[in-house]
């Protein structure tokens, strides 16, 4: 167990280094810089002063080394655009994204597995065709278009749901206000991962059903419900767990688009603001945070995987 974790930690550090180097160089190579986002009437001297103040006159590798030295000590720097620590800006926004993604993943996993199993068991029948058709639609319709259509329908035409914002928190929190703001974003984000889980569960289940050990269970005199929901499902879920790990990055990139459509003030909108404002420390901070989330999720998936498949040596 310890060996496994150390190994994983080593891999994660290398991954973080690669990701931060690439991101750092990319944002610095992008045209424009923090100074270009200043007021139009700023004089060349003022611009130069700002560049020097932010240390942008240094060569790029010096700046990266400077950044990484601070970063490993837990100091992600000060945001260019708001003069607050990057950590603080991220931690203000993070809970909203967690809300959005956790709801999405829980709903997608439960509904996805149910529909996938149903589709496999009713293979070739109407239920299977309907589920299959919906999955294809979900996979092929772009999230932003679907988001706009839903806003048109539910917010503008019917007026049932708010079209944007996160609802009020704190003292004047109200449950319906919260949920009503969540419904559309979660729905949109769900369409980016749910069809994958449905299709994967279906094919996994179909494969398992034709295995020899399923025949053995029937030969023992098991009820069909036990054959399907105990013996087959338990095996079919093993690969589904791994696909969930694969879907996490997809979910996060989906979150950026969804947050943008619905003005959901989470990490997704933060990274757009940061990129637009050439807020290098903030972009780097969000990058580091997302990478860590992905690494941790994958670690978690691997641990779950080794628990549910006895053939994988327990770590």
């Amino acid at each position: 167990m310890l060996r496994f974790l150390l190994n994983r930690l080593g891999q994660s550090v290398v991954l973080l280094l690669i990701v931060t180097v690439i991101t750092f160089f990319l944002i610095n190579l992008a045209p424009g810089g923090p100074a270009s986002t200043m007021r139009m009437e700023a004089s060349p001297e003022e611009r130069q002063a700002m560049i020097e103040k932010l240390g942008l006159d240094q060569p790029i590798y010096v700046r990266y080394i400077d950044w990484i030295t601070h970063a490993v000590q837990g100091d992600l720097g000060i945001s260019f655009t708001s003069s607050e620590p990057v950590i603080q800006r991220i931690s203000e926004r993070l809970p909203y994204t967690i809300e959005l993604t956790v709801f999405t993943i829980v709903i997608s996993v439960i509904v996805g597995i149910l529909l996938g199993v149903l589709s496999a068991i009713k293979r070739g029948k109407a239920q299977d065709h309907i589920i299959n058709f919906m999955s294809v639609i979900g996979l092929s319709v772009p999230a932003f278009w679907l988001g706009l259509m839903l806003i048109l329908l539910f917010s503008i035409t019917l007026g049932w749901l708010p079209s944007s914002g996160v609802g009020s928190r704190g003292a004047d929190f109200d449950l319906w206000g919260w949920i009503s703001h969540l419904i559309l974003p979660v729905l949109i984000l769900t369409t980016t991962v749910l069809p994958n889980i449905v299709r994967f569960t279906r094919s996994s289940m179909l494969e398992v059903i034709s295995q020899n050990y399923i025949r053995t269970v029937r030969a023992k005199g098991a009820k069909e419900s036990i054959v399907l929901y105990v013996h087959a499902l338990r095996n079919a879920l093993i690969p589904v767990v791994t696909i969930i790990g694969v879907l996490i990055p997809r979910l996060l990139s989906g979150a950026v688009i969804t947050e943008a459509i619905f003005g959901w003030t989470g990490i997704g909108t933060l990274i757009i603001e940061a990129a637009r404002g050439r807020d290098y420390p903030l972009v780097m901070g969000v990058t580091v945070m997302i990478t860590i989330v992905v690494v941790v999720c994958n670690l978690f998936v691997d641990l779950v995987y080794s628990r549910i498949d006895p053939r994988v040596k327990n770590v």
């Binding site: 295995q211 020899n212 050990y213 025949r215 053995t216 269970v217 029937r218 030969a219 023992k220 005199g221 098991a222 009820k223 069909e224 013996h231 338990r234 095996n235 093993i238 549910i308 498949d309 006895p310 053939r311």
Partner: protein, 341 residues
């Protein structure tokens, strides 16, 4: 004699692209109580489909019994509903399969898989079922039962897993055990051990065994009577000793001649039957064996012989009398059937 199973004119098949194909086409035989009977035939003869029909498992694998009767202890199985059939499977009729490596569910322990088989048919507590599983595991010759029950299938060898399958099959003291090529995937030493175990269990429990094999050598060691199957039909049924003394069917003769001498190298047929078994879409007219039969006549190619009684044996061949009178079915010596009885 007291019959445990009577199969009459069984027809089972699959819906193919070019219509329904009959994998088993009018098979009849019976099994006496306490008897071991072997179905022998090349791969693709319909042996597995026959056994899966008796278990009524074909319908879970896209197959269908379209005609015939299967009487078990006098009760007709083909008309039983799903729930009635479920109560018989694994309790009165049990089955073990060819592939011990894939026959057990990889995610559950041996103990769970055996005790579950007990619980499907008996109202016991989990603990009692587990204890019973432990006895069964000991019975099939697995050492250290307590530890074994906690292991997963992948931690056991093929031979061990087949023993576990036998333990599962015995969970409810069945009247009939169907073993579909139980040793085909195992090496010779393990095969001998498993066959020995089956013989022992049969003696101790007066259980009938339907053993399916493509290896007539295995049948020689195990069977009281042998059923020779070819392309979905029964060619011959006879006592084991009789068939080895003198086969009545050219196909039986071919199978016997393909048996290596016991001291010879195993798995290298000394003389194999020319040609190969027809696919279900192109079953030959007349006698199904006629394209490969050295004695086939015009009649053989056009009219299908029925399985008919001949003394206490049954055979489906137009020319059986002629062939016997002229000593044409005698096994040639170097074909070497030197199996000890």
């Amino acid at each position: 004699m007291d019959k445990i199973l009577e199969v009459k004119s069984l027809v089972t098949g699959y819906q193919g692209k070019e219509g329904f194909v009959r994998a088993v086409d009018g098979v009849s035989f019976d099994i006496n109580r306490g008897e071991t009977i072997c179905i022998v035939g090349e791969s693709g003869s319909g042996k597995s489909v026959t056994s899966m029909s008796i278990m009524r498992l074909v319908e879970y694998e896209n197959g269908r019994i379209i005609d015939g009767e299967i009487k078990f202890n006098g009760e007709e199985l083909t008309t039983k509903n799903t729930e009635e059939m479920r109560r018989i499977r694994g309790s009165k009729i049990s089955m073990i399969f060819q592939e011990p490596l894939t026959a057990l569910n990889p995610v559950f322990t041996i103990g769970k898989q055996i005790s579950e088989a007990i619980l499907f048919h008996h109202s016991l507590g989990k603990k009692e079922a587990w204890q019973r599983a432990e006895e069964l595991v000991r019975l099939v010759g697995i050492s250290d039962p307590q530890a074994r029950l906690k292991q997963y299938p992948h931690e056991l060898s093929g031979g061990m897993r087949q023993r576990v399958m036998i333990a599962i099959a015995l969970a409810s003291e069945p009247d009939l055990l169907i073993a579909d090529e139980p040793t085909t995937a195992l090496d010779v030493t393990i095969e001998a051990q498993i066959l020995e175990l089956l013989r022992k269990l049969r003696q101790e429990r007066n259980m009938s065994i339907l053993l399916i094999t493509h290896d007539i050598g295995v049948a020689a060691e195990m069977a009281d009577r042998i059923i020779i199957m070819y392309a979905g039909k029964v060619m011959e049924i006879a006592n084991t000793k009789d068939i080895f003394d003198q086969p009545f069917h050219p196909y039986s003769k071919g199978l016997l001649e393909s048996v290596p001498k016991m001291n010879g190298e195993r798995g290298v047929p000394l003389k194999s039957i020319k040609g190969s078994i027809p696919s279900l879409n192109e079953i030959p007219s007349g006698c199904r064996f006629s394209p490969r039969c050295p004695f086939a006549t015009d009649k053989c190619h056009t009219e299908e012989p029925l399985l008919e009684m001949r003394g206490d044996r049954q055979v489906a061949c137009w020319h059986v009398d002629y062939l016997i009178e002229n000593n044409l079915l005698q096994i040639e010596e170097e074909g070497g059937v030197s199996i000890e009885f």
